[in-house]
Amino acid sequence: MSKEFLTAIPDGAAGTTADGSLPVRQERRGNVLMNKEFLAFIAVAALLAAVPFTFGSSITFIAMCLAKGLAVLGILILLRAGQVSFGHAMYFAIGAYAAAFLSSAFRGIDMMVLVAAAILASGVAGAIVGVFVTRYRGIFFGMINLAFSMVFYSILEKAFHITGGSDGMRIRRPTLLGMELRRAEFDVAIYYVILVFALLSVWLVWRYLRSPMGEALRAVKSNETRLEYVGLSAKSVLLGGYIASAVLCGLGGVFMGMVQGLATPEHAFWTRSSELVFIAVLGGPAHVAGAFGGTVLFEAVRTYAAALLDDSWQLILGVTLILIILWAPGGMVELFRRFTGRNRVKTVTSGEAGR
């Protein structure tokens, strides 16, 4: 075993060779990577934790990126199963509105209660909708999710006596573990809360995707017949992923809502869903880092180029999306791997496999 381990390392650029030569010990190579990746993870975590002391002015920006990145992480789980949802902004909005309702009903409610409520609400909604949509794949999966989100959007907009209509609802500043916080303190506190949840989620999703259940998600994409014939229901595998993705979107939504102090129907609009999908494809579905890398790039471009691009934002997104799909189907993750000389990974968006 150790011999194989050693022989595999000099062959670092490998992966499987097309001509079918030497087999490569992928999972052991994976362990080496895992260590490197773990170090990178710790380094990024430390850098982010230092932000309030070094670049204090950008914490709100980064907090919003992390919140959105959580939602993108959810989309990424579905991409693993080869599925795209054009309606996941609905769960984002559910997270935000759960916080809005609770904070308007109970003054001085705690942030952790709001977060728990968002997880619960998005998880339950995801389970109910999921039972239906996981019967479908591909086009139907994407479009039925879109249909659900559009219905939800119009309910939010029309039921203004409950939801405040298109103006949305305010989310009062919650306490944190019982402490009343002033504005500046709150900004720092919520930054750290979001950071902790984001890091935790990345770790959990990373582990989940490599666990039997997570690997089964890829099997949903590649061969449902075989999945059934090893004794597993593809529908329930996908349902597990779907609920996880809904909860991640709900988490993203509650954090975004608390940072902005607002929940609006806009959060559920189809353009938001499409942004999430866009970022996931931009970042690349092969690695959890893609979700957050993609989000930072996306938000940075949008924030700093807003004045120039405001009128043509969707246009630019659309063109970029086509360019990525046609010429860089692995997204940023694959570009990074190519750049650093690692092997090309098969990804959900590499369509070479055909139908």
């Binding site: 080869g82 599925q83 795209v84 054009f86 239906f132 019967r135 479908y136 591909g138 086009i139 139907f140 994407g142 479009m143 039925i144 879109l146 249909a147 659900f148 559009m150 219905v151 119009s154 309910i155 029309k158 039921a159 017949t225 189809w270 353009t271 499409s274 999908v277 494809v281 009128d311 043509s312 934002w313 969707q314 246009l315 997104l317 659309g318 063109v319 999306l321 086509i322 799909i325 046609l326 189907p329 959900v348 968006t349 369509g351 496999a353 055909g354 139908r355």
Partner: protein, 301 residues
């Protein structure tokens, strides 16, 4: 609910169903042949509407005979369908026929984002009106209630003409036969020498024209606003999915079901209006996952 209300809702529903059918039949035709669900179909609908409205307004503003706005509706739709549809198929879709379903869906979604943006840049966010054709046809009376003839007679007639013209085209012309052959069995069709590239192009352009025509004919009955494309793509998908993707006559029936149900919802409980089409779709799909007329195909193992 009185009889009058019922008749009113029914006629309203039929008018709406006619528009829905026009758009959905294009969507379902393209899916049947190309295997692609074109999300940008909604944009073709919206742009067809805007172009027809612009053309009509220009005619009226320049003192032309207002009856010319009728051919303008069809001309606008045809231009949009051929130019925009043709360009899309040639420049983009041809590159993705071999890719997997999700990628195709993402590409047409990207096109949708682009077209929605372009539409906002060109026509702005102010609502557009062009009700000349509606006014010209005047009113008709049923059971003592006045209806606009445009909605009660013209739209259903247009939808029926399209349905039968399409059936005739598919059954009795060589191009139509080729389209049907490709729908039935792509591999077999190409192996007997059918030029799939040409069939795909023609089908996409025809489908695009139907979307634009739906938009153009909707113009006199409604104000054109941003977002109409997004609403229409999910609605027409609901119609096509309820019937079973690829089912042409089925789309007519499910358009009627959804159109009429929606109209009754408007009169009975308006908050259900938006939900109605999806409610029907979900109910149908729960019982028949392939739609009302869709065929179940088991994978050969």
């Amino acid at each position: 609910m009185t009889l009058n209300f019922a008749v009113l809702a029914l006629l309203d529903g039929i008018a709406y169903a006619s528009l829905l059918f026009l758009v959905a039949v294009g969507l379902t035709l393209i899916f049947g042949v190309l295997g692609i669900l074109n999300i940008a179909h909604g944009s073709l609908y919206a742009i067809g509407a805007y172009v027809a409205a612009t053309l009509g307004q220009w005619l009226v503003a320049n003192g032309y005979n207002p009856w010319l706005t009728f051919p303008a509706l069809f001309a606008g739709a045809t231009i949009v369908g051929i130019v925009l549809g043709g360009l899309l198929e040639r420049l983009l879709l041809q590159r993705i026929y071999a890719k997997d379903e999700i990628l195709q869906l993402l590409v047409t979604f990207a096109v949708f984002m682009i077209l929605e943006n372009l539409q906002r840049m060109i026509w702005g966010v102010q609502p557009y009106f062009m009700s000349t054709p509606l006014n010209l046809l005047g009113n008709v009376s049923f059971f003592g209630i006045n209806y606009t003839a445009y909605q009660v007679l013209f739209l259903p007639a247009a939808a029926i003409v399209v349905l039968f013209a399409l059936r005739h085209f598919l059954r009795h012309t060589s191009m139509g036969a080729q389209i049907l052959a490709v729908t039935e069995d792509r591999e077999a069709a190409t192996s007997i020498g059918i030029n799939a590239t040409r069939v795909y192009f023609m089908t996409f352009v025809i489908g695009a024209c139907f979307a634009a025509l739906g938009g153009a004919l909707a113009t006199p009955t409604t104000s054109l606003v941003t977002g109409m494309g997004a609403n229409m793509i999910v609605l027409s998908f609901a119609v096509a999915a309820t019937a079973g993707l690829g089912q042409i006559e089925g789309a007519a029936i499910s358009a009627l079901m959804i159109g009429i149900a929606r109209a009754f919802a408007v009169y009975l409980s308006p908050e259900l209006e938006v939900i109605m089409p999806y409610l029907i779709m979900v109910l149908v799909l729960l019982i028949k996952p392939n739609g009302l007329f869709g065929k179940v195909t088991a994978r050969k193992i």
